[in-house]
C-alpha cells in the first residue's frame, strides 16, 4: 500500500490512516459533514466526509485508525482526498496510532545515546546534577513529545531531536569561540524546552494544557529547577543556579516573545540564537520539501509569513 506522500494527483488509492483531526460542520445545504485530517508516517492530507450521520460522527473521531479508499485531488492548489469509502480497521489490521505518526529522523535510542554523551561534558557539578535529575524525571516524555503544536519540529520525538541538533551547533560554537562556558551552554540547551512536556498534552493530538496556557514552558522549567534544588539540597539562591535558571527564562530572546528577562549573560544570548537558528532551518527544510525546484513554498508563519524559493538544481 502507498504512503500519503507517494500518491499522485488524481490517483485512486487504498490506505490505513490515523484520524488526526475530525471537525463536524454544517454545510450550506444544512447537512453535517466531517472535515478530516488523515495522517500516516509520511505526511498528512485533508478530506471532507459529506452528509455525515450522527452515528458516523461518533464513530470517526480523532485518534482512530481507519481504512480509506479515496482519490487524491488538488483544491485551490493544495492536495486533498475525495473520500470514496471509509471504515474503521478490523481486528487483524493495524490499529495503533503510534504506527501513523511522523517521527524524528533519528531513533529514540540514537538520540538518547548522543544526549547522554553530552552530560559528561557538563563539568560543573550542580548543573550536571540538576540536568540529570530533571531529564530522568521526564525521560519518557522528552523523547516522545513534539517540540510544538505546529510550526517547527511538530512530530513525535521532535522535542529531543530539536535539542539534539541545537546541541550539535552548540558544540561547534564552543570549539570556534573557546571563551564560551560549555557546561552552562550545554545545560541550557538540554533544559530550555523541557517544560513542553507539561505545556503540551502529548504527541498524538497535541494541545496546550491549562498549565501551559497560564504559566508557559519557560516558567515551568524554572519551577522544575526550584524543585530539583530542594530535592538535591542545592541552595537555589547561589549564582550557579541563578545562571541556569536565567538561561531557560531568557531563551526566547525578547520580552515580546515571552521571556520575562532578556539575556544578560553571553551564553544565554548564544542559546537564544542557536534555538532560533535550528527552528528556522527546520521550518524552511520542511516547507521546501513540499515543493519542486523552481517553485516557492507556502508562507511560513513562524518566519514572519515569508515564502522561500527553491532554486533549480
Amino acid at each position: 500500500m502507498k504512503k500519503i506522500k507517494e500518491v499522485a494527483t488524481d490517483e485512486i488509492f487504498d490506505a490505513f490512516l490515523l484520524i488526526k483531526q475530525a471537525d463536524v460542520r454544517v454545510a450550506k445545504n444544512g447537512k453535517k459533514f466531517i472535515a478530516f485530517t488523515f495522517q500516516d508516517n509520511s505526511g498528512s492530507i485533508d478530506g471532507k466526509y459529506w452528509d455525515a450521520s450522527e452515528e458516523e460522527i461518533s464513530r470517526f473521531t480523532a485518534g482512530k485508525v481507519v481504512f480509506l479508499n479515496g482519490k487524491r485531488e488538488l483544491y485551490q492548489g493544495r492536495p486533498q482526498v475525495k473520500i470514496l469509502h471509509l471504515r474503521l480497521t478490523q481486528e487483524d489490521e493495524p490499529s495503533s496510532p503510534e504506527l501513523f505518526m511522523t517521527r524524528a529522523p533519528l531513533t529514540k535510542d540514537a538520540m538518547m545515546e548522543e544526549i547522554n554523551q553530552v552530560l559528561f561534558e557538563i563539568t560543573q557539578a550542580h548543573w550536571q546534577r540538576i540536568v540529570r535529575h530533571i531529564l530522568n524525571q521526564y525521560q519518557k516524555e522528552f523523547f516522545e513529545y513534539p517540540a510544538a503544536k505546529r510550526n517547527h519540529h511538530a512530530f513525535a520525538g521532535g522535542l529531543a531531536y530539536h535539542t539534539l541538533t541545537m546541541m550539535r551547533i552548540a558544540k561547534s560554537m564552543c570549539s570556534i569561540y573557546p571563551e564560551i562556558n560549555a557546561s552552562l551552554l550545554y545545560a541550557g540547551v538540554i533544559l530550555h524546552d523541557i517544560g513542553k512536556v507539561i505545556e503540551l498534552s502529548g504527541a498524538v493530538t497535541t494541545e496546550y494544557t491549562l498549565e501551559g496556557n497560564l504559566l508557559g514552558h519557560l516558567v515551568i522549567v524554572d519551577e522544575e529547577i526550584t524543585k530539583a534544588c530542594q530535592t538535591l539540597k542545592i541552595d537555589d539562591h547561589e549564582e550557579d543556579v541563578l545562571l541556569l535558571k536565567h538561561m531557560v527564562l531568557s531563551h526566547h530572546g525578547l520580552l515580546e516573545y515571552g521571556s520575562p528577562v532578556r539575556p544578560k549573560v553571553m551564553e544565554a544570548e548564544i542559546l537564544h540564537q542557536i534555538d532560533n537558528m535550528d527552528a528556522s532551518i527546520q521550518m524552511m527544510l520542511g516547507a521546501l520539501d513540499q515543493v519542486k525546484p523552481g517553485e516557492y513554498t507556502e508562507r511560513i508563519f513562524g518566519l514572519d509569513n515569508r515564502n522561500f524559493y527553491r532554486p533549480l538544481d
Copy 2:
C-alpha cells in the same frame, strides 16, 4: 532645624542629613570632587564638594549621617545646595539612617492591621494558606522595602503602602462588580510585588540584586509559591494554584513589560489595571507636589515621559 523642603532658595541653613549617594568625579581642573545627594525625611537635594582630599572621600560615603551648613540655590532650574561646611555627626547627635528616610504616609502598624483584615476575606483555603505563609516569611522586608528603585513608591514602606492602596481599589471593584472572585483578586494584590524583597537590596541604598536582574520579581514570586506548596503539601499542578501563579506572572499586562504570559483570567486583567492605576496616581501626585498651581511638572519617565499641568486653585 529646618527640613530640606522648608528651606527657601538662597537661604543659608544648618541640617542633619543622610548621604544617599556620593559619587567621586574629576573636575575640569583635574581635581577630584564629590557629587552628593543628601536626604532627610522631607525630601532630597544635590550638592558638590570641590577639591576633595582622599581622606574626605573615604570619610563621606553613602549611608553616613552628616551635619551640613549650606546655601540653597537654583542650578538650571533645579535646587542644589552650595556646601559651606560639612562634618560627620558627633556622639550626641542623630546618626541612624532610618531617621532620614522618606516614608509611607501610614505607619507600619496601621498598614499591617489593614492588610491582616483582608486576609480573612480570602476565603479559598489554599490561597489563604499560601498568602499567609509567604507574608509571614517576608513580613519584615515587606513593610520596610520601597516598591521600586525609583519611579513610583520609591520610599521606605512603599511596597506595603502600594499594596494597601491597591487593596482599597480592589475592594471597591468587588463591590461594584460582584462577578469578580474577591479571594483571587485579594490574594493576587498581596503577592503581586512581594518578589521585590528579593529583587531589590533594601530601603537605604536600593539596587537590583543579581537574582533580581537574572530572574525578575515576577518569577521570584512564582518560585516562592512553588516552595510554599511543597512546605504546605499543596499539589501545585491543581487549578487553584495555577490561577494564583498566573495572577502574579501576568500582572505586568503585556509581554513587553516583562510578563511571560498575558492575563487570561478576568481577575488577572483587573489586577494589572489596578496596579497601573495606583502607580500612575502615585507618580502624578509626587510630581505635582513639587510644583505650584499654574505650573507643569517635570517629565515623568514612568508615564511615557509626559509632564502634567497643575490647575490653578
Copy 3:
C-alpha cells in the same frame, strides 16, 4: 414562548423576534438568500433563508418583527437557527422593536436617578451648568443609545449604563485619593462619551453617521461645550472650560486611539483609566457569560484579541 438564550441545541422552537440585520447574498448555486441576525431581549442568533424571492427580500428587512419557527443548531461551534417557517407578525401580535432589544440591567429611571444625584456633587459652577445643559439637551438619546456599535455596552441604554458604572469607580477613587478634584472627574465622566448620540445612528440598527466618521465623538463633545458656553455666556478661553474640554478630548489616552492630545491633567489620566477598566470588565463579563466553567471564551477584539479562561467553580 422561550427566549433565544433558553433554547437548547437541536431544539425546535417558536419565537417572536426582531430582525437586526438582513443581508442579501447570492449562494454558490446562483440563487439569492438572506443572512439574518434575529434578536430578542435575551440575546441574538444568526440564520440563513435560502432561495429568497424578490418579494421575500423586500418583506423581511432589518427593523421588522417576525414570527419564527426554527431549530437551533451548532455551525462551526457557533449557534445558528435553521429556519423552518418565517412570517411577519400579525395585528394582535407584538410588533414594537423596542420589546426585542437587549437592555442595560438597570431601568432608565434608576440610572437617571443615580446620575442626577451626582450632578449635585459637581460643585464648580461652570462645570455644573455646562454638564446640566448638555445632558438636558440630549437626555432622551443619552439613556437610550448603546455605548458602541459592537464591542462593549452594545445594548440599548448602554451609554448611560457605562457612564454609571464608571461613575461608581470614580467615586471610589475620590474617596481613596482625596487629592483628586471630584467635580472635574465627575463632569468628565458624564460628558466623555455623550458625543456618541451624534456619532451613532441610534439603538436599533446602529451605524456610524457621516458626522461620526468625519469628526469623531471626542470632537463632537468639544463642539457641544463650545456651543453651551455661548448659550450660557461662559468665556470658553477660561481655564476651567479648557480643563473640561481637555478631559473629553484626551480620554482615549493615546493619540493612536484617537485623542488629539494625551492627558496632561491628573483627572484626565484617571478618567482614561476608569473608562478602560469598565469597558474591559464589561467585555470580559459578556464573553465569559457565553461559556461554561473550564472553557475559554471567544477571542475579544477590544482586548487585543485575547481569549479568557473561565475557572472551574
Copy 4:
C-alpha cells in the same frame, strides 16, 4: 555694521541685537552666568556672560535690544560669541524688537494680496464665508505669527508664508488633477494651521499657551468654525461644514501625529501631503543654507533626525 551671518570666525565685531533667550545658570565655580541667544534678522548666535551680578541679570532679559562688542568663535563645531562688552541700547539707537526678527521672504502685503486672490476661487458659498470670517478675525496674527516654535517656518510671518507656498502647490495639483474639488482644498489650506494664533503666544518669544497644550491647534480651528457657523447662521451639521472641519482635523494624516481622525476624503489626504511637502522642503532648505557644498547638514528633528548632503556645485 555687520549682520550676524556676515561675521567670520575669530572676527571681532559690533552689533545691535535682540536678546531672544537669557537663561541664568550657576557655573562650576559657584558663580552665576547668563546663557544668551542673540538674534538679528540674518540669524542668531549663542554667547555666555560670566560672573553676572544680580543687577545685570535683571537688566539683560529676553526681548531687550542690546549693543554688543564680541568675537565670533567655534565651540564644538558650532559658532558662538565671546562677549567682550554688552550694554542696553541708548535713546537714539534702534530698540524695537521687530527690527531684529527673522522674517518670511515676502512682505505682509504681498502675502495678503496673493491669499486674497485665492479667496475668489473658493466658489462654494459656505466655505467662502467661513474662511473670510475667520481670516478677518485673526488677520493681524495670521500675518505675524510663526508656523511653529521651532522646526519649520519658525520666523515672523512664517504661518502666512507656509500657507502661501502650500497654496501654490495646491493650485498646481488642481490643474494636474482636475477631479480635485479646488474650493474645498483651498479653504482647507487657508484654515488648516490658523489655530496656531491661539496655540502659540506670538512671534517674539514663542511658547505654547495653556489652550494650545490642552486642546491643540486642530481642535481650536474646529471650534472657530463652530462659532463662525453660529454667527453666520450656517447649520453646522450640514455636509459641507462637516467636510471643511474634517479637512482641518485630519490634516496631520495619522492619529499618532495628533489628528483625531485620519483623512477620509480625497482632498483631506492631499492637504495632508501638501503640508508635509512644504514643511519638509522648508526644513531642508533652512538646514542646507547653513552648510557649504560637499558638507552634511545637522540632523533635522522634524525629518526623523536625518541629516542631508549638500552636493558639490
Copy 5:
C-alpha cells in the same frame, strides 16, 4: 455591444471579453469550477463557470478572448456575472488581447512626446546621457508595462503614465522652489520605476519575475546605471553618478518600504514625496470612480486600508 462598465445590475448582455484570470477550483459538491476574471478596456468583472469539464478547463485559459452571454448581478455588494453562455471567439471576431486591456488615458505617442520634451531640460550631461541610454534600451516596455501588479496604475501604459503625472508635479515644484536641482529631479523621476520592466512579467498577466523577487526594482535600476556607465565610459564613482543612483535607491523613502538607504539629498526626499502623492491620488480616484456620491469606497490596501467618502455633489 456594451462595455462591462455600462451594463446595469440584473441586465442580460453579450460581450467580447479577455480572460484575465482563470482559476480552477473544486466546489463543495466535489465538482470542478472555473473562477474567471473577464476584462475589457472599460474594466473587469468576476464570474464562476460551474461543473467545468477537463476539456473546458483547457479551452478557457487566461489570455484567451471569448464571447460571453451573461447577467450582471450583485454578490455581497460586488458585481459579478452569471455566465449563461461562453465560447471562444471565431475567425471574424476580435481576438487580440491588446484590444481588451485597460489603458492609460493618454496615448503612447502623447506620453512619449511629453517625456521627450523633458529630456532637454536635463542639462547635466552625464545624467542626460544615462537617462537617454536606459530609456532607449527599454522604450518599448516602458510605454507598455503597468506600474504595478495591482494597487495603483495597474493598467497597460501605467508605468509611463505614472512617470508623466509625477513629472508634471516635479515641474511645478521646481517653479515654486527654485533651489531644487531640476535636472536631478527630472532624471530621478524618469528612472525611478523603470526597473519594473524587469521586475514584472508584462502587461497582460502581470507577475513578479524571479529577478524582481530576489533583487527588487530599485536595485535593478542601480545595476542598469552601472552598466550604462560602463558602456558610456562614465566613471561611476563620481559624485554625479552616485547622486543619480541615490535618487533611485532611496525613492521608497523608508527602509521598511524597501529602500536600502533613506533620502539624504533634498531632491531624493522630494522625489519620494511626489511618487507617494501621485500613487495615492491615482488609488483614490480609481476607488471613488466605483461608487456614487454619498457612498464610501472599498478599503484601499495601499492607503493603510482606509476607505474614502465621496461627497455629495
Copy 6:
C-alpha cells in the same frame, strides 16, 4: 614600556601612542583645549590637553605618533590620562601608525590561507570565478579594513577576521545540515561585507565615504558582481548570479536594517543568522573583556543597549 591596557589606575607612565582623534574645543574659561583619544595595539584612552596654543593644535593632529608622559586616572568611572608631557616622536623613535592599531588576533597570512582553502570548496563555477575576481581586486583592503567604524570588529583586519569566523560557523552548519548548498553559503559569506572596502575610508581614521552614505555596502557589492559578470562574460540575468546577489542584498535580514529584500532563499536566511551570531559574540567578548568577574559590562549599542553580566569564575 607598558601598553595602555597594562597601566594601573593612578600610575604615572611613558608611552609611544598614536593620536586616533584630536578634537579642538573651547573650555568654560574661554581657552581652547584638545580632546585626544590615544591608541596603541592594546587599546585606547582619552585625555585632555588644556590651554592649547594654535601651534600645538596644528602639531598634534589625528594620525600622528607621539611620546606621552601621563597619569592614568578614573573620571566618572572611565579611565582617562592626565597629560603631564606630550611631544611628537623623534627620528629614531617609532612613527608608523600601523604599529599602534589594534588588530585581529590572526595574522593577515593566516587569514588569507584559511580563506583560500575555502575557495576550493565553492564548486559552482560562476560563483567561484566571481568570488575570486572580486577578492583579487580588493585583496589588500579586505585584509586591512575593519568591519565597522565602531561596534563589532572595529579593528584593523576586522573585516577579514569577521569573515573568517563566520566561515567557521558556516562550515559547521553545512556538516550538521547537509541540505544546505555549501557553495552558495560560502560564496555569500566571503562577499557579504566586502563592500565595506568602498563604504569606509580605511583602517586608521575610519569614516563613511560619500559612496557609503548614498548607496550602502550591500548595493556596492551588488554593483561589483554586475561588473564582474561583464568582465567575466557571465550573463547576470541567470539564476545562479541572481542567487549570489540575493545572498548579499538580503543579509541584513530585515528591511529596517537596510536590506532591500528579505531572505527568500534558505542559504540567505542562514547567512544572515551567522552574521548576526558572530557580530553579537564579538561585541559581547569585547565588552566582557573590559570588566571583572561579578561585574556588568557597559551597555552595548549594537545589542539593543543591553549590558551583560560576567559570572564569577
